[in-house]
Symmetry: C2
Subunit: 410 residues, 2 copies
């Protein structure tokens, strides 16, 4: 699913944020592969990180930084990201590389090391050529500009077929606030390149605690509700930062009624970026929204949703434009979650498929087949036994996925 969203970076300004990207020749020559986001004094940052037990050192480092950021918001913040090498499972070399890079930025910018975050995406297990990165830091910093976010979106791509960038400007009471986000990801972990990364920046004035709470709950509904191939990267990372540069009364209390609108806009950006990733899923031709309702609770609904969305047989049926609802039944069954066969209603789009524990008496295969030809599909399952619900997004499994991933690394 190709989408082109490259745009002029001048449209995506965030007060207090500057961007730069260069080519450091990490894996390929003359391709943007190193970027920095610089956030002025007073900025805060929170994050959500991979649940993998083989976390890359950049994940461990950045996680530590986001935990402490609220205690030290006097320094600027820098987020450095490279593509072409994940610096994952690289032993002591990996940690040393991060230390060297962070020290260089910290010295060069004269900021605390604890205000420098790092993310890496690319092949697992190869040593990061950190000297190439260190050499480029002066040039990178010199290039910093409020207009360069599009270059940053390009620099973090691996098997992505297009850069992913989203922006919204809206009013909170009488003040204009902006949110910009970039992301990369094309498999939960791509061929040799890895990882889903997203960086979101806003100029809103908000407390660390509230932003942290929003980050966790909104990630759950967006970036943690998508699947391309069920694989989890060693390096996934979503960072959300606020520069506080809008002149406004700070959002500090959870009763502040501006939170609702801000959260809504933030969720929209996160959801759009998340869907950009699924649409750009390796080999994906179709985007499927799975809506599960009527489950015993939300967690059960989400487990069932992922059991369906990750089933290779469901995904190949979607690729084949086959309304093969028996596979949905199979996937609900294998989830292990509580269900009552007699009460399951499956819908493809508006079409009811099952009722009373069997195929619906007025099920129309021809109409449903036609529906399956769309590139964006809705599969809804009403379990009819409770109030739990979950919506997630997945894609189909095509031969192109095999092509992309069975090629020998080169």
């Amino acid at each position: 699913m190709n989408e082109t969203k490259i745009s002029d970076g001048t449209k995506f300004k965030i007060k207090g944020a500057r961007f730069a990207a260069v080519s450091a020749n990490i894996k390929y020559v003359n391709r943007l592969d190193l970027m920095v986001i610089y956030l002025e004094t007073g900025s805060i940052i929170t994050g959500v990180f991979t649940s993998s037990k083989t976390k890359a050192p950049s994940v461990l480092w950045s996680k530590k930084v986001t935990k402490k950021a609220f205690k030290d918001d006097k320094n600027p913040l820098a987020i450095l990201v490279n593509s072409g090498n994940a610096n994952a499972f690289t032993g002591k070399n990996g940690k040393k590389a991060i230390k060297k890079i962070v020290t260089k930025i910290s010295t060069f910018l004269n900021i605390s090391k604890k205000r420098v975050l790092m993310a890496s995406t690319g092949v697992i297990g190869e040593f990061l050529p950190y000297k190439k990165i260190i050499e480029k830091i002066p040039e990178l910093i010199k290039n910093l500009s409020e207009n360069q976010i599009v270059n940053c979106a390009n620099a973090i791509m691996t098997t992505d077929t297009y850069p992913k960038i989203r922006y919204k400007k809206f009013k909170l009471e009488n003040k204009f606030v902006s949110v910009a986000g970039i992301a990369k990801g094309s498999g939960m972990i791509a061929p040799n390149m890895a990882t889903m990364l997203a960086f979101i920046i806003t100029d809103v004035k908000i407390s660390y605690d509230i932003l942290k709470k929003l980050t966790a709950s909104l990630c759950d509904k967006t970036f943690n509700s998508i699947t391309v191939d069920s694989d989890t990267s060693t390096s996934d990372m979503v960072l959300i930062s606020a520069t506080s540069k809008v002149e406004m009364k700070p959002i500090e209390k959870s009763s502040d009624n501006r939170i609702l609108k801000f959260a809504k806009m933030l969720e929209l950006i996160m959801k759009e970026l998340a869907l950009d990733i699924v649409k750009d899923g390796e080999g994906a031709k179709k985007l499927v929204e799975y809506q599960i309702v009527g489950a015993t609770n939300d967690k059960s609904a989400k487990n069932i949703a992922f059991s369906i969305a990750n089933s290779p047989l469901v995904k190949t049926a979607v690729a084949g434009e086959d309304p093969n609802w028996g596979r949905i039944i199979m996937a609900i069954g294998k989830s292990g979650e509580k269900i009552d066969q007699e009460k399951i209603k499956i819908f493809f789009g508006q079409y009811l498929i099952t009722k009373n524990g069997k195929v619906y008496s007025e099920y129309d295969e021809e109409k449903t087949k036609n529906y399956m030809k769309k590139t964006e599909l809705l599969v809804k399952v009403d379990l009819g036994i409770g109030k739990g619900s979950s919506t997630i997004w997945g894609c189909d499994l095509t031969k192109e996925y095999i092509d992309i991933n069975a090629d020998y690394r080169s």
Copy 2:
């Protein structure tokens, strides 16, 4: 992976067991699709069934029978199996179909209904044309012969490319005992056809309790240690029966030292059938044995093994003959199990790949690439933190899997 193992059925005799198969035109015309195994008075039967929450009615029925069989071994036993239709998610019609079929066999053979088992494999959600089956029962029973097990193996095939049949004859002390087994399965659930089924018969004289215990523990090490596509059928079933027709002192005590040899032979048959299924996995070109050792416990080892074996990225790397060990690290990480990155040793065959949390200093990519060209591979992971271990078998993910499963049902 094609293997031909069709053989003359006269070689596979089990005392007290007779077999027959006919064509009932359930889905296709003139293809064996209905079979029966008849076991004389005194036979016992145990089973292991799918963990799916959307179990087919035949699974629920047969499960009930195996629970009670030991209390009533005066009647003969009959196992009726059809392919071409799974009779799953068919509501009341499904239960009615089973009732009608079981009643017919029970009346015709003059045995208790509680001694008739049934299994079905094929498309989910379509009503079973049970009248076609009932009509054929007299012919089926008339055909019963001790030589017809090969026809039974053929009659249960769906997308299988060859029948799966294994046989062993061995001495327990001074008595010859035979074990025969047939199986089907080509995806955990195949395109529209479904299911893994296995039926094993022996003439050993053994108590129900001991056979039941063996069935559960050996299934765990064989049929429950394979994966083709991580999907679980609504209809999986393994039945193991003993006719007791060998004139021998019965095996009734768990201290009986004949159990060890019998269990070993039974496990061998079960493992061979299980591997036959993986080798015949939809689109599979390679069989991979995953040996996990040094885990905190066996359960953790098995979870890690399945996390690796089911990873689409690992499976496509195997298809591409790429020793992409970074994906093994990723899959270990996403399992959520306890590990220590520094202690993980990965071996492809005899080649050590990782040590001390990074790639092994003497890792030889060329040699490992050559190793990956084999059709049967060993991937061994030593986690180095405990005594837990598990061995499972999986296959690669190829474009043919997509071909087989993305085709519209017809």
